[in-house]
């Protein structure tokens, strides 16, 4: 007899037994408070004046009162309704429901904080969405968007402050699940690490404004997908530790985009030059308040020599500024095979600026530039090599050919040997300067 049949035979005793066991069962470890206001049960209200959208309205909670600092509110939003946050301290926070249309909204006047050792999860097993236009959210714990298998989370930061202050905590965008963080204003400060794509997840970080300050930014790894999209050059990105381009990372950046690197390193494990071609639109600025702080940077491009082709889909950078308002030391390295190791990989960068007292150590690697090279500091381990613009190269070739042609024609006339192959080829390739015929 299988389990189901056994159960059917003993329905009542089993029910009584189960009830008794339920009474014995200890409670789950966390006290979750369940939102039953707007966004649930067909209520699609979004107006902050509507009491069913208000955080502090007791009837909006299954438990009959708003959560206390020892409770973790769970917002299982199932439709387009909004939850309008009020200032509060809670243990943790979970926005996780069937619908991605509803949202938790944090606006001016709402200061939300979670207790230490907890976390905020936006889209854990299902959908979660947060819109912050003002106020503040302080996450004293893990901050995860799209946090588990099946999780689909999004966070829009339009204004206000979002802070993850713990040095042992982290923020992840797409950890096992899919996460999108879009910033158009406000300030996001992560004192520890931000992972865009973590543990097989898929993360997207859209920067369209505001300020992002993070210690370390990891963009994907071998099994996680990550995209950094800088859609407005006014967005300020500061990375006080390391910037890491993982194997499966993509970058799109509008021209003029800048990443400030007061930190220590830039690593790049990517073999996909096309996915990171917008590095050419980026200016990397090594600045910060720690003078003479060393910075290591991976070079990833194929060494084409001093040819313009080296700047196309070859991990080429837009501009590199070493020491802006301070002195910095940049050490290049080639620790990773980015798929371009016919010889040591090289760095192609359009413009280089070395500030007063700052240093660029090429570490015997090749650096090519085709724009400005402003050197007010020190260069060691080699010297950047200028790559003329394609137009300059063409003009140079033209000039050389013209000189060669004049000599060939002259020689041909003198030797009555215009039929020579050398002369024919040269004549067919170039216009003969006027006056030589």
């Amino acid at each position: 007899m299988n389990d189901a049949r056994k159960r059917a035979a003993g329905l009542l005793p089993a029910a009584l037994l189960a009830a008794a066991c339920a009474a014995l069962a200890p409670p789950a470890r966390a006290d979750y408070f369940h939102w039953i206001g707007a966004g649930t049960g067909g209520n699609t209200a979004t107006d902050p004046a509507d009491p069913t959208t208000q955080w502090n309205y007791p009837a909006n909670w299954q438990e009959g009162q708003p959560p206390s600092p020892t409770d973790t509110p769970l917002l299982p939003l199932a439709n387009a309704g909004y939850v309008n946050a009020a200032s509060c301290v809670v243990k943790g926070l979970r926005v996780d429901g069937p619908s991605a249309d509803g949202a938790l909204r944090i606006a001016d006047g709402a200061d939300v904080a979670t207790a230490s050792g907890s976390g905020v999860n936006v889209g854990l097993f299902a959908n979660g969405r947060v819109i912050q236009t003002g106020g503040s959210l302080t996450v004293n714990g893990l901050f995860r968007i799209g946090a588990d298998v099946g999780g689909n989370g999004s966070y829009l930061l339009e204004g206000g402050a979002l802070t993850v202050p713990g040095i042992s905590d982290y923020e992840s965008i797409g950890e096992f699940g899919t996460g999108v963080f879009t910033q158009t204003g406000g300030t996001l400060i992560v004192q520890s690490t931000m992972y865009v794509g973590r543990m097989f997840g898929n993360g997207v970080l859209n920067m369209g404004g505001g300020t992002l300050r993070v210690r370390s930014l990891y963009l994907g790894d071998a099994y996680s997908q990550a995209a950094l999209n800088i859609t407005d050059s006014a967005a300020r990105i500061e990375i006080t530790g390391g910037l890491h381009f993982g194997t499966n990372s993509t970058l799109s950046a509008v021209p003029g985009s800048t990443i400030h690197l007061p930190g220590t390193s830039l690593t790049n494990l990517s073999n996909d030059e096309v996915a990171l071609r917008d590095l050419a639109n980026l200016t990397l600025v090594l600045d910060g308040a720690k003078p003479s702080l060393g910075f290591t940077m991976e070079v990833a491009g194929k060494d084409y020599g001093a040819l313009p082709i080296g700047f196309y889909d070859n991990f080429a950078l837009g501009s590199l500024v070493i020491g802006e308002g301070t002195t910095r030391w940049l050490w290049l390295e080639d620790k990773c095979d980015n798929g371009n190791r016919t010889s040591a990989e090289a760095l192609y960068v359009h413009n280089i600026t070395i500030g007063p007292g700052s240093e660029l150590d090429l570490n015997a690697l090749h650096v090519y530039y085709d724009g400005a090279f402003i050197n007010q500091g020190i260069v060691t381990g080699g010297m950047p090599i200028f790559v003329p613009e394609p137009g300059c190269v063409a003009l140079l070739c033209l000039g050389l050919a013209a000189i060669g042609g004049r000599r060939i024609v002259t020689r041909g006339r003198n030797m009555a040997n215009l039929a020579s192959r050398e002369g024919r080829d040269a004549l067919s390739r170039m216009p003969i300067p006027r006056g030589t015929r």
Partner: protein, 250 residues
């Protein structure tokens, strides 16, 4: 615990198929991450520090976490499987309205009994497995009859508190600070090892072991795992007498 579903989200259980059930007590209890540990890992009714720390970490990650001892399981007069699926059936739905999404068993099979299951393609052959514990959805009106897991289940097969602490600390280290390589030489994410062996002499067949496999379930499973990983793999053999051990490395 990195589970099979974490490795491939597309294999995630379809929990939408489960409808929350009203509880006999009127109490809604949901557990996302359930730990069932042998009694040896409890003292004074409290789980050992390592298990507690793991639960705290999962709690921090937003999972509604619960630790249960085998005593609690026994007090319910149920087996491990019934305990896990508790709440799915109206007559027994008492503790959680939806079943856990993750289950961790802590202890060897003598401390947390293993189930006996059947290979999907060879239903006549029963073997020891935790898979039936994860097979909790109704199928043709009966529980657990499709042999496919509906939740992610894993086991830390340790026998002592010290060993549990060692393993759990490794898991926590990995989860808290995943090793992200700085160079391709350390890109260990791309390497996996799947080990199996030909089941030569698995049954008392005269003349066995004879160097020929009698069954091929383990090898077949290993091949399927390697195929799933989608990587080229190397194949080693270590012939020792008639027993041969093999490893598939993706």
């Amino acid at each position: 615990m990195t589970t099979q579903f974490e490795a491939n989200p597309s294999n995630a259980p379809v929990f939408e198929r489960i409808e929350p059930r009203l509880l006999l007590t009127g109490e809604q209890v949901c557990v996302d991450y359930l730990v069932i540990a042998g009694n040896d890992f409890f003292s004074g009714g409290q789980a050992c520090a390592a298990i507690q720390e793991l639960a705290d970490w999962k709690d921090m990650k937003g999972f509604r976490t619960r630790i249960a001892s085998m005593s609690e399981v026994s007090a319910a007069n149920e087996g491990v499987g019934d305990y896990i699926r508790h709440g799915l059936f109206e007559e027994g739905g008492a503790w959680w309205s939806t079943p856990p999404k993750y289950v961790l068993l802590v202890g060897d099979s003598s401390q947390v009994p293993a189930a006996r299951g059947f290979c999907l393609t060879h239903e006549e052959d029963e073997h020891v497995s935790d898979n039936p514990y994860a097979d909790i959805l109704l199928y043709n009106g009966e529980p657990g009859s499709d042999n496919l897991p509906d939740l992610a289940i894993g086991r830390i097969p340790v026998t002592t508190v010290a060993d549990a602490a060692t393993v759990i600390n490794k898991i926590l280290d990995y989860d808290r600070t995943p090793y992200l390589p700085q160079s391709e030489a350390a890109n260990w994410y791309k390497n996996a090892l799947v080990a199996s062996y030909f089941e030569d002499g698995a049954l008392a067949i005269e003349g066995d072991p004879d160097g020929k496999e009698d069954f091929y379930y383990f090898m077949e499973t290993a091949h399927r795992v390697a195929d799933f990983l989608g990587q080229d793999f190397d194949y080693w053999t270590d012939a020792r007498g008639s027993w041969q051990s093999f490893a598939l490395a993706a």
